[in-house]
Each structure stands twice: as structure tokens, then as C-alpha cells.
């Protein structure tokens, strides 16, 4: 496989090399409706898109923001921009729950930071949402035309060697206010794809990817769009919303299209079996799948076990469920478990007491009292190095828990236009991930996050964004709100939990109404539903010495007072 990538200086070169008659993207709507393009048709539509950008004065290096639903058209628009040497970035489509003004201010922040030349929206973009995308004078709004019709095969300007130039920008967190644009070069992306294709033994002639992952996240963009494009491999995709409303369709699509590869966040491994009526499982066949990779949230073997137990009767082979540690800043994967290992990713059991008190991993037998289990994210891909560091920056030995630092040949160039954030994240060539983990016998185990990030259904949220909204409620004491993610074993992902102090004790009589208003504010502000709200009397929240709400101490106090929340497995 690697041979196809060798000699390609850019992702566009790689696309040009794909056999024209091979199917590339199938966009699955339902069993009666889907769109298909071959590699040749995809190239034709992307070139057409490129000429439209050309007519609008888009030039090499210009940033192009794409806000379109998951579709072939969104993908050809993205590649069309790259064909001109412009730098595209997908952003999340507006969600009806989020207020127009909030979406607009988030988008304005991103467009200003990227200094984008054009924002592309789709033809069907609802008129009542147009207020969501009003922009400054520097940026133009363009409605994408469906490029499915006939069109002249146009000649595009020749580009110089692009290897070192920016290919595109990925955004790393769900909330727009604090979004950081991860800038990636063609060379970095191609190196990552080459390592990944090698580790997964990809063969474009026989493999086929299944995806419901959004194109604005690394799993959707890199594993399920760029990897198929460069490996000349078909991909069958559906929209994330359609999947979440009917996870059963995943079984249907894999069966119909005999897909061989898929990536999913941890929660999906229990969401699909729990939300598909068991009476319908036997209609499907998962025997075509050769690797289904769990990444983006800490890997939990219980979730994978549940998926395997449910679907081994319909052809799911042993050893198909695998793991990876991936992030936008390294393009995608840093590690990948050995897909030829029939027992799946490595698992170990460690002394729970020593793990909690001394942050040390002392392997014990599975049945030992108090043993805690960890599932490996696999071994490093070529070109990647890992270090585990203590809070003071000292390097730690294997078996010690600390922050994961990464050096990679696919590392990002920096956060676009944010040298301040870049300097904090990359120190002496090492990217500080903010994740906690340990290494043991060449395997990397990721156990959580050092930074207070919430991961809900594979999407990242910053607690500050939620706390700011909650604290703006007139009944809540200024600055006395803490948002946290608490693992929900039923969903396999985190629930958003908020604890907030009311200004006066009497207000607690109104708790139901205040909770309702807070839910409305948070969902309207950033589109995430708060699962539980705890309103507390004044002075309840633990403060730091600086007088600010202390997140981890408040969390501990809440878990102590509400032991029913304490279900961390």
C-alpha cells in the first residue's frame, strides 16, 4: 500500500493517482436512497468547486470555512479548496437547539482567528439560520451549488511543491468559543496516513470503510475521508445524527456494503447493542469487518466486551475490536493495537490501592482483591515517541502514571494564528497532550485527562463554557458554578453534571424552576443537555486560595454527598 503514497507530494497528488472507476464515497440516507461517486466523479466535482472558488478570488493559502451537512458535496468542496492550495476547515453545522446569537459569535471568533476569505454554506441552509452566519467585511458568504450536474473539465492553475504547505485546519473541541485550529501540512498528513495504512494492512481494492463520524472531527476527517482518499478505498458514510437516532442502521450498512473497517468512540460500542432491539440482530451480518477501532475516549474493555458478546452470533470475529490513541494535533493516531492479535488489545490488572495512592501500576492477577483493569491503546506508530512526565516535568519510568507527551513526524505546525497557545502546547518539540497514562512493555495505556475536559458522546466540551452560562443565571451566585463529566455506565460516556450555589438560601424553594431555566440556557448556548443539576446553598462550593471555585475539590465533595453518582468503573 505504502507504494501508492510514496512520491505523492500532496493529498491532491494522491487523489489524482486513484483509479477513476473505483467507487469512492457512498452517502447512505436510508435503504431506498443513497448517493454514490467514483474517484473520477469525485475529482470532477472537486475541480468544478475549485473553479467556483477561483472565480471568487480564492488563492493559495486562503482559509475557506465549510459549514455543510455530512455529504459528498461537503467533501468535494473541501478538496476543491485544497486543489487551489487554499486551506479548508470544516465547522459543525448549526444545531437547532443552539441560539442564533451564540452560534454567530462562536463562528465570528473562528472566522476572525482564521481570517477566512470565504464561508461556504449549503444550498439548503435554512433561511431562518442565515442570521447565524453574518460575517465581517473581510469574509464572503458563498452558497455551494450542487456540483453533481454536467460541467466543463476545467484547467486549474499549476501548484508548486506543496509538501510543506498547510493542507487544512482541524478544530479540536466542540465549543466554538475556545476552539483551537490545528494547522497541518500535506507532508504531516501523508506521513500519518502511510503509517496507519501500514499498521492496518489496508488494501484499497478489497477494503471498505463504514463511518457515521462527523467530518469536522479527526476520526471522521482523517480515518474516514483522507485515509480512504489516499488509499484509494471506498467509504460508506451516514450522518452522525441519523446514526444517533437509529444506531441499528450501522449494522444494516455494514451488512449491505460488506464494510471491513470502522472507527468509533468508546460509547458507541455499547450504544449500538443496547439501542438495537435484539429481535432484529439476526437480520444482519458483521463477518466482513476485520477491524473496528475504539478511539477518542479512554478505552473501556467492558464496552467492547458488550459489543462482542452481542454480535459474535452474527459473524463478528474475535480480535476485530481494537484500540488506538488519536488526536487532531498529531493528525490522528499515535498508537494502534496489533490487529493480528486475536484476543484484541492487551489488558492488565493492577493493584487498585497503589494506583490510587501512589499513581503506580503494580500488575496483579485478574482475581486479586481490589484489582483495577486497564486496556491498552496499542503500540506507537513509526515516527512517534512517547514520554510520561510528572507534574513538575520529571520523566517517569514505565509503570508510573503521568502526563503523556508526544513527539511525532505528523505533529501539527501550531494552532493557527495562536503562537501563545502553541508555545504552551509544544515544548522542546514535545506536545503536551494533557492526557494521563502510563507505558508498560511497549504498550501505551490512556487513563484520563489532566485538563478538565468533558467528553460527551465523543464530543469535547470545556467546563468553563458551561459554568459561565450557569453563573449568568440571576439566582446563581456569581462565579459559583462547577461543571463536570461523570461517567454514566449505561451510556458508556460522560454525563454533564452541574453544581451551583444559589445567591440566597430561600431561592432553593424555587429549585425546579431554576433548574429548568439553567437547562434551557446551557442547551441554547452550546447545544449540550445537562443531565443533572445540583443547586446548593451559599458557601457550599469549595473555593481555591484565589477565591475561585475549585473544580476537583468540589467534585469530590459532590461525590461524597451523593454516593449514587460514584460509579466510576
Amino acid at each position: 500500500m505504502a507504494a501508492t503514497m510514496t512520491g505523492c507530494r500532496s493529498l491532491i497528488d494522491a487523489l489524482a493517482a486513484a483509479p477513476g472507476d473505483r467507487p469512492f464515497v457512498t452517502a447512505w440516507i436510508d435503504e431506498d436512497e443513497r448517493g454514490n461517486v467514483t474517484f473520477a466523479e469525485f475529482r470532477r466535482r472537486a475541480r468544478l468547486q475549485a473553479t467556483i472558488f477561483c472565480d471568487h478570488g480564492v488563492m493559495v493559502g486562503d482559509r475557506v470555512i465549510i459549514i455543510m451537512p455530512q455529504s459528498i458535496s461537503a467533501m468535494t468542496t473541501f478538496v476543491g479548496a485544497m486543489m487551489l492550495g487554499a486551506v479548508p476547515a470544516f465547522l459543525a453545522y448549526p444545531n437547532f437547539k443552539v441560539e442564533a446569537s451564540k452560534y454567530r459569535s462562536g463562528l465570528a471568533g473562528v472566522t476572525a482567528n482564521l481570517n477566512a476569505k470565504i464561508v461556504v454554506i449549503d444550498e439548503e441552509f435554512p433561511d431562518d439560520m442565515l442570521g447565524h452566519v453574518s460575517l465581517g467585511a473581510e469574509t464572503r458568504l458563498l452558497r455551494a451549488k450542487d456540483s453533481g450536474g454536467p460541467g466543463a473539465d476545467v484547467k486549474l492553475p499549476e501548484l508548486a511543491n506543496q509538501a510543506g504547505s498547510l493542507a487544512f485546519i482541524q478544530h479540536s473541541a466542540g465549543t466554538t468559543g475556545l476552539q483551537k485550529g490545528v494547522a497541518l501540512t500535506h507532508a504531516a498528513v501523508l506521513r500519518q496516513l502511510e503509517h496507519l495504512a501500514e499498521a492496518l494492512k489496508i488494501d484499497g481494492a478489497t477494503d471498505c470503510v463504514y463511518s457515521w463520524l462527523p467530518l469536522y472531527h479527526d476520526m471522521g476527517l482523517i480515518a474516514c475521508f483522507m485515509l480512504p482518499m489516499v488509499c484509494q478505498m471506498p467509504v460508506v458514510m451516514q450522518s452522525p445524527l441519523d446514526w444517533v437516532m437509529q444506531p441499528e442502521t450501522m449494522l444494516q450498512i455494514i451488512s449491505e456494503h460488506k464494510c471491513t473497517l470502522a472507527w468509533m468512540p468508546n460509547f458507541a460500542f455499547q450504544f449500538v447493542p443496547r439501542r438495537t432491539p435484539p429481535s432484529r440482530w439476526t437480520q444482519y451480518d458483521l463477518s466482513s469487518v476485520r477491524a473496528m477501532i475504539n478511539c477518542s475516549e479512554p478505552v473501556r474493555s467492558s464496552s467492547m466486551q458488550e459489543f462482542e458478546n452481542a454480535f459474535s452470533a452474527i459473524g463478528l470475529k474475535r480480535g476485530v475490536l481494537q484500540s488506538s490513541y488519536a488526536m487532531a494535533e498529531t493528525v490522528f493516531a499515535v498508537t494502534q493495537s496489533d490487529i493480528s492479535r486475536a484476543s484484541g488489545p492487551e489488558r492488565i490488572w493492577a493493584d487498585g490501592q497503589r494506583f490510587r495512592s501512589a499513581h503506580l501500576i503494580i500488575p496483579v492477577a485478574e482475581a486479586a482483591p481490589g484489582a483495577v483493569s486497564f486496556t491498552s491503546s496499542g503500540r506507537l506508530l513509526p515516527g512517534n515517541e512517547v514520554r510520561i512526565a510528572s507534574d513538575s516535568g520529571a520523566l517517569l519510568a514505565p509503570g508510573c502514571v503521568g502526563e503523556i507527551l508526544i513527539k511525532s513526524d505528523s505533529l501539527f505546525t501550531g494552532y493557527y494564528n495562536r503562537p501563545d497557545l502553541t508555545a504552551k502546547a509544544i515544548v522542546d518539540g514535545w506536545y503536551h497532550t494533557g492526557d494521563l497514562g502510563f507505558c508498560l512493555e511497549g504498550e501505551l495505556y490512556v487513563i484520563g485527562r489532566k485538563k478538565d475536559l468533558l467528553i460527551v458522546g465523543g464530543e469535547n466540551f470545556y467546563p468553563q463554557d458551561i459554568e459561565e452560562i450557569v453563573a449568568n443565571h440571576p439566582a446563581i451566585h456569581d462565579g459559583r458554578a462547577v461543571a463536570m463529566g461523570i461517567y454514566n455506565p449505561d451510556l458508556g460516556t460522560e454525563d454533564v453534571v452541574v453544581v451551583a450555589e444559589v445567591g440566597r438560601k430561600e431561592l432553593l424553594a424555587n429549585a425546579m424552576e431554576i433548574e429548568r431555566e439553567i437547562r434551557n440556557l446551557v442547551v441554547g448556548g452550546i447545544g449540550v443537555a445537562v443531565r443533572l443539576i445540583f443547586l446548593k446553598p451559599p458557601k457550599w462550593i469549595v473555593k481555591s486560595t484565589a477565591g475561585k471555585a475549585a473544580r476537583s475539590a468540589t467534585r469530590e465533595k459532590l461525590l461524597k454527598e451523593h454516593p449514587e453518582l460514584n460509579v466510576e468503573s
Binding site: 447512505w28 440516507i29 436510508d30 435503504e31 431506498d32 436512497e33 444545531n95 437547532f96 437547539k97 451516514q238 450522518s239 445524527l241 441519523d242 446514526w243 444517533v244 437516532m245 437509529q246 444506531p247 442502521t249 450504544f271 439501542r275 432491539p277 460527551v456 458522546g457 451510556l491 460516556t493 425546579m512 429548568r516 437547562r519 434551557n520 446551557v522 442547551v523 441554547g524 449540550v528 443537555a529 445537562v530 443531565r531
Partner: protein, 83 residues
């Protein structure tokens, strides 16, 4: 209100598990943050059961599921007979 709508309301109240909470046919569920997108699948499965129809997710947006009344209108609009 139909018996099916009443059953749907009871199903949702059980799902939300919030003591003291009452909802009616027109209570916003998704846009008010009472129900998150991961719970929509439970509502779709329930409405398929109640209407004896198959509802292709590709034709449904979360806003079509925001109230119990809208759920039944959506089922009528996009529902297909069960195979």
C-alpha cells in the same frame, strides 16, 4: 389527546427520571435540554411501536422530535409500513 400520545408521555417521563416533572404534548424536550440526542433513539423506537410504522432516521431531524405532538406528525409524514 390520543391514547398513543398519552403512552408516549408516560414513556418520556420514565426516561427522564426526574421526580415531580410533568410534561404535555407541547413541552419542548430537545430544545429545552430535557432530552439529549442520545435519547432520541428511544423515542424513535417507541413511536415506531406505537404507530406500527418504520421511521427512516434519514428523513427525521431532532427538531421534528422536539414535542410529543411533533413526533406523531413526523411519523405520519415519513413513516413507512413495516416490512
Amino acid at each position: 389527546m390520543t391514547a398513543e400520545a398519552q403512552q408516549m408521555i408516560e414513556h418520556i417521563v420514565r426516561l427522564i427520571r426526574k421526580p415531580g416533572l410533568t410534561i404535555d404534548e407541547n413541552t419542548p424536550l430537545v430544545s429545552s435540554g430535557l432530552i439529549d440526542s442520545m435519547a432520541l433513539v428511544d423515542l424513535l423506537l417507541k413511536i415506531e411501536d406505537l404507530t406500527h410504522m418504520r421511521i427512516p432516521a434519514g428523513k427525521v431531524q431532532p427538531k421534528d422530535m422536539d414535542t410529543v405532538a411533533k413526533m406523531f406528525v413526523t411519523a405520519q409524514r415519513v413513516g413507512k409500513p413495516r416490512k
